[in-house]
Amino acid sequence: MNSNSNDVVAARRRALAEALRQGEPVVVSPTGEVAKKEDVQDTGMATIQVPNGKLA
């Protein structure tokens, strides 16, 4: 993986972590990809919302 794609992945992770910290709804796609609900809601993809709550 080159540094550009590393940066893209890191930026995506930061945005998701921030969304989680803000309590925004986050979903998981069939490939396991974590995404903000608002980013995938128009795709028609079956996604599951990550339950709220702290990691143990």
């Binding site: 893209v8 992770r13 972590a17 069939p30 974590v34 599951i48 990550v50 339950p51 702290k54």
Partner: protein, 182 residues
């Protein structure tokens, strides 16, 4: 009464299969060949999307599914990463953590006794393995009308993986990783 949850409650078994087929259709269900009768799902996820790490996971039902008791982190669906193996990552991280905190005892006091945040160990076959510690028991649903399914446990695990990758890459602090307040 049958010993296995999927014999006692075929409707719950159907619901579990339907949820996984809907949300994670690439995962396959099977039975452990260790005589325990436990069912498991196996498949791959890529929580940070294209370019991120691919994790090969097993989701193993305990025979008392659905169930969660005090100190039983992750409830009755255990999540075991096959590749990468958590024990291998944790063993690489432990010397770094010991250097940071001065001793193993200090690491353990901080919550890094196993080398990674939010994991637990358990016997699996002949080995001791490290599992993803997903849900605090108080968030695990195990009521008569609603239970935490393998699908929701897996969604939780994907969140854990994303945060774990961030911590391993130094993108979040030890405190944030330990807090787990996501």
């Amino acid at each position: 009464m049958a010993y296995y949850w999927y014999q006692n409650d075929p409707e719950l078994y159907k619901a579990e299969v339907m949820a996984m087929r809907k949300y994670f259709p690439s995962f396959q269900i099977n039975q452990l060949q260790d005589g325990s009768g436990r069912l498991y799902w196996r498949g791959k996820v890529q929580p940070t999307g294209e370019g991120g790490m691919v994790w090969d996971l097993m989701l193993i039902y305990k025979n008392d599914h659905p169930h969660a008791s005090e100190g039983e982190y992750g409830g009755s669906v255990q999540i075991l990463p096959i590749q990468p193996r958590l024990k291998d990552i944790a063993q690489k991280m432990m010397p770094i953590l010991e250097q940071t905190y001065g001793s193993y005892e200090n690491c353990a006091r901080r919550g890094f006794g196993l080398g990674l945040p939010h994991i637990y160990r358990n016997n699996f076959g002949r080995n001791e393995e490290y599992f993803i510690c997903t849900a605090d028991p108080k968030y695990f649903k195990a009521g008569q009308n609603r239970s935490t399914s393998a699908a929701s446990a897996l969604s939780w695990a994907c969140k854990w993986i994303m945060l774990c990758e961030m911590w391993l890459n130094g993108e979040i602090s030890d405190d944030v990783a330990l807090e787990g307040n996501y």
